[in-house]
């Protein structure tokens, strides 16, 4: 949480003025008991009605000035809290955008989303309340103590004992409950996850008739959350009663001491009233504070969750090179090994391969053989465990990541489009593209018909998750999106699985006519998709088994032959 406070800098004036004005308001409030004391000691004692009238007038004026201060303070507080959190939210979003693939794998989207939304809202509430009230309370407390000393220093000693005692209790409760609130939040996360999972898997759950088990599991998680909430509630609920008990006992002692001092003539009755009033003010303020602290505690827990995301190292951009010789080999792997989180077996093992500039290559192999891993390594999405990758002759570690990715067009396995027009989606890949160029890419991707059939063509709005498009349509638009940036390396990661064979064949034909300086890497499950490639790499269990042209592999690589057979039948061999 503490590290987040740097975002407060911009609002330092408001952040200081708001509590300062609040303090001013408190000062006016603290004068009230003195005024009341003088009403009793001077006005009532001497039956001076004009004095009473004057003093009550002062009370009214204090109320007006207090209001003025508060209003300005509230405005500053709102501005600071909202601004502070808006800045954190923007920074957090930016930070998440900069995280590496492995960090994103480890975190998962759902927790990042809660941190950007509900956790930040909690922090905003906390900051707002803190600025408005949290400083006010201690100030009232200490102010009341100082005023008590002004009234009578000996009787005021009661304050000196009471206040630290209360402070200790408040901090103890906070200290115990902050970690508990964190575990409540974690338990809530699990309930959210379970619900989301149930919604996504509804068909499978029902097909297996597992509804009751799922419900039982949910109830288990819900019960855990419930138990946590009740436990932390019990501790948080200690604050208020403890305050009431301690303050009232202190009041008893205070009145007793006051009585002794009045008895020997060192204090007036009105002054005892003033002391009593100060203690009461502390009571009221501390009860407010206790409620506030519960809120602030939650905010701190949320703030820590946010900070923990900030603490994850963003993707390192180690390289600076932004120009390469495009005639050099596009991709070269030298003894490359890689495992996803540094544990478990390597996803790929000691891979050596070379893809020449402008070549059209295919990567094939059974599921889990490491094809997608290789694709993820070329744009530097993950750092390799050992070995060396060269892109157009440069070590990938020396290349600027933005530059590296700008020369690669990738079509991922999962066809993801964003909410917005088709044109906007294309511009994600190439911001300055003309409509004409978009249409050219669409035609090549066999997506021209899709766009022609939609109302408004390029202005057709794709819904969230591309819900208003079929799987095949999404895939083709994703291919077009990769094409519009005119990449030097085009990677198709099994990106035609939802296309029927006729469309797939047309697509392949179109891609074979792509400009000569584009290197095309096709990953496919289908032998037909890659058999005309200049070079084919056959992978199995993370190891490069063989490479060569279709007719070479047919005779030399048993696995390749088998894959071919399964697809084309015996006659294909």
């Amino acid at each position: 949480m503490i590290k987040l406070l740097k975002y407060l800098k911009k609002y330092i004036f408001q952040a200081i003025s708001a509590p300062a004005l609040k303090v001013l308001e408190v000062c006016f409030e603290l004068i009230v008991p003195l005024v009341v004391a003088s009403i009793i000691d001077v006005g009532i004692k001497n039956s001076n009605t004009s004095y009473v009238l004057k003093m009550c007038g002062i009370l009214a004026v204090l109320a007006v000035v207090g209001l003025g201060c508060t209003l300005i303070a509230q405005f500053f507080a709102a501005k600071t809290a909202v601004g502070f959190c808006a800045d954190i939210r923007a920074a957090l979003f930016k930070h998440i955008s900069s995280l590496s693939y492995s960090s994103l794998d480890n975190l998962g989207a759902s927790t990042l989303i809660t941190r950007l939304t509900s956790d930040l809202n909690q922090v905003q509430t906390g900051v707002n309340l803190t600025l408005r009230l949290l400083l006010r309370s201690p100030f009232v407390v200490f102010g009341a103590m100082i005023m008590a000393f002004i009234v009578d220093s000996k009787a005021a000693l009661v304050f000196v004992i009471t206040i630290p005692l209360l402070a200790v209790i408040i901090f103890a409760v906070m200290l115990v409950s902050i970690p508990l609130y964190r575990s409540v939040q974690a338990a809530l996360d699990k309930v959210v996850l379970k619900t989301g999972e149930n919604l996504q898997g509804v068909r499978v759950i029902r097909a297996f008739c597992k509804e009751n088990d799922e419900i039982a599991e949910f109830e288990e998680k819900n019960k855990l959350l419930n138990a946590m909430q009740i436990r932390v509630g019990k501790i948080a609920a200690l604050l208020n009663p403890a305050t009431i008990i301690i303050i009232n006992i202190a009041i008893s002692i205070l009145i007793y001491k006051g009585a002794l001092r009045v008895n020997i003539g060192e204090l007036s009755a009105g002054e005892v009233v003033a002391l009593y009033n100060y203690m009461s003010q502390i009571l009221i303020e501390l009860i407010k504070l206790a409620n506030l602290i519960i809120n602030v505690t939650k905010s701190v827990a949320s703030g820590n969750r946010i900070q923990s995301v900030f603490e994850i190292e963003p993707e390192q951009n180690r390289g600076k090179i932004k120009t390469v010789d495009f005639s050099k080999p596009a991709v070269e792997f030298k003894n490359v090994s890689f495992s996803y989180n540094g544990e478990g077996e390597n996803a790929i093992e000691n891979i050596n391969l070379k893809i020449g500039s402008g070549e059209n290559v295919g990567i094939i192999g059974p599921t889990g053989s490491g094809k997608s891993t290789i694709v993820n390594l070329i744009p530097g999405f993950y750092n390799i465990t050992s070995g060396e990758i060269k892109i157009f002759g440069e070590n990938i570690e020396n290349l600027d990541l933005d530059f590296l990715r700008s020369i690669i067009g990738i079509v991922p396995q999962k066809a993801v489009l964003f909410k917005g027009s088709i044109r906007d989606n294309m511009k994600i890949s190439a911001p300055n593209i003309s409509d004409e160029e978009i249409y050219t890419a669409l035609k090549m991707a066999q997506a021209y018909e899709i766009v022609k059939g939609k109302e408004g063509e390029l202005d057709f709005i794709i819904e969230q998750d591309g819900r208003n498009l079929s799987g095949g349509q999404k895939q083709r638009l994703c291919i077009a999106r990769a094409l519009v940036r005119k990449p030097k390396i085009l990677i198709l990661d099994d990106s035609s699985s939802a296309l029927d064979f006729a469309t797939d064949a047309a697509l392949r034909k179109a891609l074979s006519e792509i400009s000569a300086d584009t290197t095309v890497i096709t990953i496919s499950q289908r032998a037909s998709a890659i058999r005309n490639c200049d070079n084919i790499f056959v992978l199995d269990e993370g190891v490069l088994l063989a490479s060569g042209k279709d007719n070479e592999l047919k005779d030399s690589c048993e696995l390749y032959l088998e894959i071919r057979k399964t697809q084309f039948g015996e006659e294909g061999a």
């Binding site: 209001l67 808006a86 919604l199 759950i205 889990g368």
Partner: protein, 581 residues
């Protein structure tokens, strides 16, 4: 609106009813605790009255009062803690049972509801709305009720001390309520705008964070941050207004209260001056304390009211979900036992959107042990047919029979248990690999699980995972590729050992080589059992007993592979296209 609120309030009360003993207990304790707390100023006043001046202190009565103050404070404190614990318990347990109900209900809702509502919306009802409702309940129980009791008891005490000055307080207090209401009505618009923009922002966050890999692949980070900041700035502007204006309530009412305090001071002081027997200085002091106490709850209540309103809206959203018609009950229906795989589709018509026709007058006879393949272009109705076979959706007209039972006349559970299903979208639970494979057959031994994984050709890659079969996987984790996930789904279906099998593009992301091995395992598994296979890849269906070629909701061709090829129709075109380059 008001009417809806009323029915929601009624329902909330009904939901809390199981805890009525606790509620009653809490109320009684609240009255006691508030009474004790409020009695303290009276005692303090008396104590002060016993301090008259120099050498004129009535120590005996002073002691009595002071001891009473301490005792009352301790009692009140203990009571307050008990009340908080009880209130927490009521609120949390109510919401817990509401959540359980909502989740259980969710599992009974028709798929048409779930398919047509955004996940996020249903999710937030069960999670965020329920949270908000809990907060509202606790606030309602503690502050709202406490406030009302405080006002009433204070009023009693004040009247007991001096009825006339009490009148001043009673007459002036409603002013602060009017002000609070005035401000609340003005801020409503800002709050509405705030939650609208917040919704827009959440949607943006959802989309971009869930697909952050795609964003990175296109180096689109900077652009998406810029878009995000635009929405963020809009939110910032409206939030400042909403928060500022809503925070005006408290200072404004406090201002009114301070004025009341001054008025009471004036009236009280005059009363003491004119007749000290009518009002003592101690009484005056207690009175001022009460004036403070009395107005404070009004302040709190006005603040709590907005929260409560919000909580009611949230409760209403949960109730709406609970009120959604579940699928019809099938408790009285027969169980489908020992299905052999005879399926009959008679004249079935169906469409999701009743204005657009989809399946029309479909007829099909499937005998036990047959392999039925369904092919055709995207959107032709293949997946729909499966939705109907599994009774995820009910037919609009016609009937589907299994073993001569209309599937609407047998329980859904017994129908679905007789099918094994593998879908194109690969859903896995947030659990270990082992638990996922054993999902349809909890009693499976480790050996059986490994055997199923081997049959599905998943064993090899599972072994490569960090913890093998005990590796924890979740639906969004990137540890597995789509193909690997499909293999796990297949292992899961194999282990459940169904009497009929549905494969909807089940192997679309698996390479043809592995696919063929998996197919042969399926073939062994499906000996003498019926299977329905939807596939783009025609190589997987060459041996089907019957191939249905669907287009625009109709079966346009049917027969075996050889028969269809001979025909030279749509199927032949499809088949040949896979060899074309």
């Amino acid at each position: 609106m008001a009417k809806m609120e009323k029915s929601v309030i009624k329902r909330v009360i009904k939901t809390v009813m199981p805890y009525k003993v606790l509620v009653l207990f809490s109320l009684v304790l609240t009255v006691l605790s508030v009474g004790l707390t409020l009695y303290i100023p009276v005692l303090a006043g008396r104590a002060i009255d016993s301090i008259k001046g120099f050498k004129d202190v009535d120590f005996e009565s002073l002691y009595k009062c002071l001891i009473m103050i301490s005792v009352c404070a301790v009692l009140a404190g203990v009571l307050q803690w008990i009340i908080s614990v009880i209130n927490n318990k009521i609120a949390y347990k109510t919401v817990r049972s509401l959540r359980n109900q909502a989740f259980a209900h969710l599992n009974k809702l028709p798929l048409s509801f779930i398919d047509s509502h955004p996940y996020g919306d249903i999710l937030s009802r069960i999670t965020a709305d329920a949270e908000q409702f809990t907060d509202g309940l606790i606030l309602g129980f503690s502050q709202f009720f406490n406030g009302i009791v405080t006002i009433l008891i204070t009023l009693v005490f004040m009247v007991m001390i001096n009825p006339l000055i009490s009148l001043v307080v009673v007459l002036l207090t409603p002013i602060s309520l009017f002000i609070a209401k005035f401000i609340a009505s003005r801020t409503h618009g800002f709050f509405k705008a705030q939650s609208d923009i917040r919704g827009e922002q959440t949607a943006y966050i959802n989309e971009k964070i869930q697909n952050s890999k795609t964003v990175k692949a296109f180096s689109y980070e900077a652009e998406s941050v810029k878009d995000f900041e635009n929405i963020n700035d809009k939110l910032r502007k409206v939030s400042v207004k909403a928060i500022f204006f809503s925070s005006l309530t408290n200072p404004s009412t406090r201002f009114v209260n301070n004025l009341i305090y001054a008025a009471v001071g004036l009236a009280g002081a005059f009363a003491v001056i004119s007749n000290p027997d009518y009002l003592s200085v101690g009484g005056f002091v207690s009175f001022l304390a009460y004036a403070n106490q009395y107005t404070k709850p009004f302040n709190e209540i006005s603040g709590v009211l907005t929260e409560l309103q919000n909580a009611l809206v949230c409760a209403g959203r949960i109730f709406d979900l609970l009120d959604t018609e579940p699928v019809s009950s099938d408790e009285d229906l027969k169980e489908l036992k020992n299905a052999n795989g005879n399926v009959e589709i008679n004249n079935v018509s169906f469409s999701y959107d009743k204005t657009k026709k989809l399946l029309q007058n479909l007829n099909l006879q499937v005998k036990s042990g047959q392999k039925i393949a369904i092919v055709g272009p995207t959107g032709c109705g293949k997946t729909t047919l499966i939705n109907l076979l599994m009774r995820f959706y009910d037919v609009d007209s016609g009937s589907i029979k299994v073993e001569d039972f209309d599937i609407r006349e047998i329980t859904r559970k017994s129908l679905r248990e007789s099918y094994g299903m593998v879908l194109q979208e690969t859903w896995l639970k947030d659990a270990t690999v082992k638990e996922n494979i054993a999902y349809g057959n909890e009693n499976a031994t480790d050996e059986e699980i490994i055997a199923a994984a081997k049959a599905a050709h998943a064993h090899k890659f599972i072994k490569r995972l960090p913890n093998g079969y005990d590796t924890h996987i979740s639906n969004s984790s990137g540890k597995l590729s789509v193909g690997e996930r499909q293999l796990l789904c297949i292992a899961r279906a194999m282990l459940s050992n169904p009497s009929m099998l549905i494969l909807d593009e089940a192997t679309s992301s698996i390479d043809t080589h592995t696919e063929q091995k998996v197919q042969s395992a399926f073939r062994r598994l499906m000996q003498n059992k019926t299977s329905f296979v939807v596939a783009h890849r025609l190589s997987t269906i060459l041996d089907a007993d019957l191939i249905l070629v669907m287009k625009d909701g109709n079966i346009i061709e049917q027969g075996t592979h050889k028969e269809l090829l001979k025909k030279g129709g749509f199927y032949t075109t499809l088949y040949n296209s896979q060899f074309a380059v």
